[in-house]
């Protein structure tokens, strides 16, 4: 077992007091920075790069990796407590995490998130160790056509999972892609839908839409609800019962593996992984209809997947030297400045570095768990803040997050606009998740579509003649048709049986946060 020997050697590197301290520092900084809405892994890593430059390369990458998964975990905290996902990868976590927090089970939701993150990260590291060398071959076979198909699948999966009305979901997703296309076209430099505003040339930032549609809209809903039904800040218990642990074990395990493999694919990353895992578990679970209303499985699935994916994205980075995401691109930049050239030769030339990083990830995950479990009650105190005070504070955090990114008040007006849009969408039963995902994937989708068609010289059949792409597209079509078939069968059955049968089946996951509850009572 050469790999095992290497790993022991790696632990020797990672367990040196100096590197241990750096892991700790990285994870802590990552968690804290990631918790602030608007500051995600990219900002966290960029902020730590100046610090990293003073260290030797191995310690530096060990610390930066710690920052990365710390930030992903920290992002889930604000998703759960405030419904303010600052990072795309934690949007799916808020679907069930926030309803749980509102039910007074913030502690439980955070515990589940911590445990699922830990498992996801650990499975990811094992995967990185075992398959990194051989997987690099497969990822090379993913061309633009396959990416396009993968993104279509991700989008349809989210559309179908989010609500009773497929049409509304599709409208949301379409509008999301439309927003993504605003700005200068990257290939032809044509201006699209900028209305002469130079602020729009670079497109609409994901952060503005996410904070507006989720956090700011939530503020409006809180106000309309007059503070009733808000989380009362009682954290209940952090402990999960044996039954609950058993319940989340399945979603966590599947999410971790799914997340890792999605993360390995360049471009897909933590966001797609978390959405895919969430929709997959919703389908699979017997109590799938309680997803979106505070089901712990709905927290475990995306959390394990996004952490698995975060580690998975190190595979192409370390073995191919190809960054799979914005975050790993920043990491690659940092590595190059440190004089390390990641790529196929890294494993042979600098085994210390590769295995040291792998081992430090094991340790980092444990540190993450130790650090976060005791701090959960502290985080959950956020909910004890009286709503009259919390409300303006959430607004301030959104404003700071957006302004600190672009330094433009124009973006702040857009933030308000998207807040109103998100509120109206929620009031009228339009799911917000497809909008966000459409926005995230839209640009990439167009790019890979163009590349694929350029390669095939305009031949559209390229998407269906390639086996991987054809399979993915077939799955996407199936995921759209399945609910239609289900609805058709239900109406058939309803005609024969009593009225209320299968009623809960098509509840809105997202609207739960405000709309559904009220709609059912009122």
């Amino acid at each position: 077992m050469d790999a095992l020997n290497q790993l022991f050697h790696g632990f020797g590197v990672a367990l040196s007091p100096q590197n241990l301290a750096f892991v700790f520092l990285g994870v802590l900084m990552g968690t804290v920075i990631g918790m602030l809405p608007g500051l995600g892994p990219i900002s966290a890593i960029s902020l730590m790069i100046p610090v990293a430059f003073t260290m030797d390369p191995t310690s530096a990458i060990i610390m930066l990796a710690g920052v990365y998964y710390g930030a992903i975990f920290g992002g889930s905290t604000s998703s759960i407590l405030l419904n303010a996902p600052g990072v795309a990868g934690t949007v799916a976590t808020s679907f069930d995490g926030y309803p749980l927090a509102r039910k007074g089970q913030a502690g439980k939701a955070l515990s589940v998130a911590a445990i699922a993150s830990f498992v996801g990260g650990t499975v990811g590291v094992v995967g990185l160790m075992l398959v990194a060398p051989s997987l690099s071959a497969l990822t090379v076979s993913f061309g633009p056509a396959e990416y396009f198909a993968l993104m279509v699948l991700g989008l349809t999966a989210v559309v179908t999972l989010s609500g009773n009305n497929l049409t509304k979901g599709l409208i949301s997703g379409t509008v999301g892609v439309m927003i993504a296309l605003v700005g200068i076209d990257s290939q032809t430099s044509t201006l699209r839908f900028t209305f002469g505003r130079h602020e729009l040339y670079e497109g609409v930032e994901f952060l503005i839409v996410a904070l507006g549609v989720f956090a700011l809209a939530e503020v409006f809903v809180m106000l309309l609800r007059r503070g009733q039904g808000g989380g009362d800040g009682t954290i209940t218990s952090l402990r999960l019962s044996r039954r609950e642990l058993k319940e989340i074990s399945g979603p966590t395990g599947r999410g971790s593996v799914l997340g890792f493999f999605t993360g390995v694919l360049p471009g897909a990353g933590a966001t797609v992984a978390s959405f895919l895992s969430y929709s997959f578990e919703k389908r699979l679970a017997k109590d799938g209809k309680t997803f979106g209303k505070g089901n712990i499985k709905g927290v475990a699935a995306p959390e394990s997947a996004n952490n698995g994916a975060a580690v998975g994205s190190f595979v192409p980075l370390l073995t191919l030297g190809v960054p799979g995401s914005g975050t790993t691109a920043v990491l690659l930049g940092a590595l190059l400045v440190l004089g390390v050239q990641p790529g196929p030769l890294l494993l042979d030339e600098q085994p210390d570095m590769f295995w040291g990083v792998v081992a430090s990830m094991y340790i980092g995950n444990i540190v993450l768990l130790i650090l976060n479990l005791p701090l959960i009650p502290l985080f959950a105190k956020v909910l004890k803040t009286p709503q009259a005070l919390l409300l303006p504070l959430v607004v301030v955090f959104c404003v700071v997050g957006v302004y600190g990114h672009s330094f433009s008040t124009f973006d702040l007006w857009m933030l308000i606009g998207f807040g109103v849009l998100g509120f109206l969408m929620r009031a009228n039963g339009f799911p917000a998740a497809p909008l966000i995902l459409g926005l995230i994937l839209g640009g990439l989708m167009e790019k890979s579509m163009r590349q694929a068609l350029l390669i095939s010289s305009g031949d559209l059949t390229t998407f269906v003649t390639k086996p991987i792409s054809a399979t993915l597209l077939a799955l996407a079509a199936l995921s759209l048709l399945a609910p239609l078939y289900g609805a058709w069968r239900r109406t058939r059955r309803r005609q024969g049986l009593s009225e209320d049968d299968g009623r809960g089946q098509d509840e809105q996951p997202k609207a739960t946060v405000g709309g559904t509850q009220e709609r059912e009572n009122g």
């Binding site: 900002s43 009773n164 009305n165 049409t167 509304k168 599709l170 409208i171 379409t174 509008v175 892609v177 439309m178 296309l181 076209d185 290939q187 032809t188 044509t190 699209r192 839908f193 503020v219 409006f220 809180m222 106000l223 309309l224 007059r226 503070g227 009733q228 709503q387 009259a388 005070l389 409300l391 303006p392 504070l393 607004v395 301030v396 404003v399 700071v400 302004y403 600190g404 330094f407 008040t409 702040l412 308000i416 109103v420 509120f423 109206l424 009031a427 009228n428 039963g429 167009e446 579509m449 163009r450 068609l453 350029l454 305009g458 405000g514 709309g515 009220e518 709609r519 059912e520 009122g522």
Partner: protein, 190 residues
Amino acid sequence: MHHFRFSQRTVAAVLGVLAVAYTVQAYRIPEFAAVQVPVQPGTLPRGLGLLLIVLCLALFLQKPAPKTAEPSEPTERDRSVDKAGTAGTAETAGTAEATTAPARRPALGRLADARLELAVLLGAIALYVLLFEPLGFVPATALFVTGTAWYLGFGRHWVNALVGVGVAAALYLGMSEGLDVALPTGILPL
């Protein structure tokens, strides 16, 4: 919440009009002729616009789910008319009403009609954004937090003021010193 729920047909019609406008705009995106490209910059927007029109049609023709059928439909329309008129005076009306009806005050806000409350909050946020750069981050934020929390009914005024100023100052220091993000200083000689 139900005040802002419109009939499915209304939503579909409004969206449909927007979709048509978008599609028209999409067809006006110039073709890129410098190099032969398989996908024009306008291709995807046009497809999306047409797709959205079709989806809006589908939504318009769909039977709304039985749950969303609103019993209070007519009153809603009546009120939305006077909403526009009173929104501007909401602030003053709010303080007056608060003094007259202290008996059963809602946990958040002061007005009986939640829609006006929403207008007040939107106004406050807009004012915050307007003053963000000229007044500077710290004063604008402190003012916004303290003022809004007071208006929404946060009782402990000293705590309120301290939190407003404290959060504003802490965020400013954290952002500018720790993260090198320069927030507007405005009137403060920083």
